[in-house]
Symmetry: D2
Amino acid sequence: MTIRATFLVAAPDQPGLVARLAGFFYERGLNIVDAGQHSDREPKSFFMRLVIELAPTTDRDELQRGFAAVCTALSANWSAGFSDLLPRVAILVTREAACLYDLVLRQRSGELRCEIPFIAGNQPDLAAAAESFGIPFHHLPVIRETRPAQEAQIAALAKEHRLDLIVLARYMQVLSADLLARLPQVINIHHGFLPAFQGARPYLQAFERGVKMIGATAHYATAELDQGPIIEQDVARVTHQMDAEELSRVGRDVERVVLARAVRAHLERRILVEGRRTIVL
Amino acid sequence: MTIRATFLVAAPDQPGLVARLAGFFYERGLNIVDAGQHSDREPKSFFMRLVIELAPTTDRDELQRGFAAVCTALSANWSAGFSDLLPRVAILVTREAACLYDLVLRQRSGELRCEIPFIAGNQPDLAAAAESFGIPFHHLPVIRETRPAQEAQIAALAKEHRLDLIVLARYMQVLSADLLARLPQVINIHHGFLPAFQGARPYLQAFERGVKMIGATAHYATAELDQGPIIEQDVARVTHQMDAEELSRVGRDVERVVLARAVRAHLERRILVEGRRTIVL
Amino acid sequence: MTIRATFLVAAPDQPGLVARLAGFFYERGLNIVDAGQHSDREPKSFFMRLVIELAPTTDRDELQRGFAAVCTALSANWSAGFSDLLPRVAILVTREAACLYDLVLRQRSGELRCEIPFIAGNQPDLAAAAESFGIPFHHLPVIRETRPAQEAQIAALAKEHRLDLIVLARYMQVLSADLLARLPQVINIHHGFLPAFQGARPYLQAFERGVKMIGATAHYATAELDQGPIIEQDVARVTHQMDAEELSRVGRDVERVVLARAVRAHLERRILVEGRRTIVL
Amino acid sequence: MTIRATFLVAAPDQPGLVARLAGFFYERGLNIVDAGQHSDREPKSFFMRLVIELAPTTDRDELQRGFAAVCTALSANWSAGFSDLLPRVAILVTREAACLYDLVLRQRSGELRCEIPFIAGNQPDLAAAAESFGIPFHHLPVIRETRPAQEAQIAALAKEHRLDLIVLARYMQVLSADLLARLPQVINIHHGFLPAFQGARPYLQAFERGVKMIGATAHYATAELDQGPIIEQDVARVTHQMDAEELSRVGRDVERVVLARAVRAHLERRILVEGRRTIVL
């Protein structure tokens, strides 16, 4: 199977960007099989995603060095991934099983192309679920006093397994700013339609306010709770007949799908973060 | 054509409510052609909508007196409407035409069963649109100093035309608590997905926060801005490619449909207000 | 916990139906906690769902005999279920895991109130999944020649376990009319938006036709393939960028949710079948 | 205001396409402000949309001749439009007003950037609506015997006004293959979710089949009825409570929005037709 490389570029907008980036690969005889781009007006910024097919003779290091040189000339940030190097993703959970099963089943079916070296939970409830998939489970209990030690364990596991991504699949703990600084990117699912219902118990808030739709939001975790760049959102229609518990049930269906879409976009290297926004190419 | 009467009832929950309300019409030989009900658990409340067909011999006054007696025994609030008495609805506008045209065309097509005795605008821009439909237009300009006088004009028009409902179709003025107390129910369309983006310029807020969906909310106007009971909401998917202006364009399509659905539900006497929520039967 | 009984009634429309049905329970001092109804105009038919709370002293047999007598007088069909008697549901599968996991997880979380006495597959692939949940798995392989024998096994299992419902969760075999006649109701999920893409490979059809949305349809299985009464449908937006495989992936997310909603509505006794349509109260 | 040019290209896929197309404009010092592309695998085809800003000194004829030369070398089809040359669009109607008003209001608000030189109807009902917008109205009645003559009138008007597009806004006549061959592209709105309910009375079909969602489809008209390339679709949820008339009402809201989106995509030169599919960039 042909190996593909995916390049993400963010640069100050300037004439000739597309021609120069596309030209770089054309000169090497490499075919662009997918491309997407976006320009922001204020500030004038340019974002591009390029997927190319490697030739059998392609020297990856040379390719990346050459691309780096072009990007330096354009004052551009860039990153690259290769289709034969699967990203390593850990899943953090508490008690709720739905998002965890959903992610693992999607990985098993090939929809989420990644490895899952471990699952960790601050509660032991989902150990059996992890075991049924043959994935190691780490029980990392936490109370206020042990939080620094528990977070150190998470950081150590992330380093040991050279994680590329952590997914909070209904992990009911806030990660400290200090921990986030030591981790790769972290995707969280918020069980509400941000920014409407921040904080705890969004479905109770939604019920009391009598909203007619509820939603879920997947975003990158940042030190500021529920304020990270939004990756994906969706909603479902609800009625006055539903109490807070039923809203929660409807919401879980939305959460799972929204989280899976966000993780997939990340794994396919489609997401660029620009301030508080994401560009999903 | 058979005349129908629609009864709305709200009562403390208690055994036998359905049997007694349905029995009232059965005893008079009147057929229930549509019914809906809902029970709230806390506090235990009961809501019902009953549509019956009048017989040629039905005495409406007697019917309402009799129903009132049943409701008194049940400590219930109630109201009734008759299909041959069209509600009288005024539309308040500023400059944007889409919602106004939409409402009038739906009334003309029979979808909104009401009379529209007048349209009023704080700007003169939509006078020609009103005229093209043969509906009187009142230009009621307002600046801070003239606001009490302008609101008095609105109240006077509402009284003169015995309005049953006022629709704010992108009327860019806040109605004072004092005015609201003198008007029939007022439906407003908020060009955002409440409670996410309250206040002004919701689309700019939505853009800057990078949301992936935008929405619109129709609610009854109350003295507390953007906090009235929500009647209807809907959303549309947006992307990073859309600037605030394009979000606004997408939003307008949602607004029109949401406002029309809310007005229709009101005209069909489907809405009961319970605190900050609506029950839409 | 209070036990609830749910009654479903279908009757020729006639005056006094609501009053008589509601009155039946009122006379016995039983509270109606939820009710829904619908009237068809042509032919004039009436459908009602009534949920009541049993009293500690309620004699179920007497209650059902009494209700049967009322229904006979009204020429009505009826059925009843009690909240402490869980319906028994078997799941039939082939190779795809997503719908199976989804149903079992929803049952485990309390969202689908039923027992699952067994899972059966014409392929052995999902035996381990069944085992991980502690549910017996029957491998029932089938080729053309063995089909009558295999169907006899299914019928025997359904009888042995006194099934109330069978769910085809991506079971890639057509059930014969003969078998359907020996089974309780069967819910199937069609991976297309019926009636648009009947038969095999709906996603390939959808791709070749260039549709912009794809969907899934849950329906009761009947002898006529893909023609049974539709219970639930939903769609997702797709683009020209998606090939048939990606359409299939998007479709799977819709399928799962649509199937779960249909099964839940059935278990809550919300569905009445009227010819080729369903009334979902 | 800067003038923009939009180029659409369809070519057999081959290495260096992006580099050569982007390079063409880079050499001339013209900035690409928006770009989209898509590759089909089978047959291997490439589609691209490029939006550039013209410089004050740009010679449009030279630009197009140069671009044509590049495209010839690539065996590519191409077309171009300029933002200061508004497309000329006629609207054909029968009796229903909603789609007509919707399109004209969107043009007036700047959402649809085009001229509307005339509206034509086979019924006279919408003449007053056209007049209220100051747009000439042609009443072109038609019966079976006069159809060739009436179609000749349509063709003559299209030629006289040098139309770029014709929109059938609920025009209840089928255009003959002969007429279609003499017209520019024609966009039609089908009041059903193609390919589910082709032909007449789709809402009655939908009701009788008991579907839970209805939709609308905008497509290019071809000689084969309801089989043209689909541009846009959307759906709305419906219930057993809605009769065919109410389905129709819900459907109208979907139709309007779907038709407007399709016309807008066409005017922005986003659509490439590939066999029976559209690529919407």
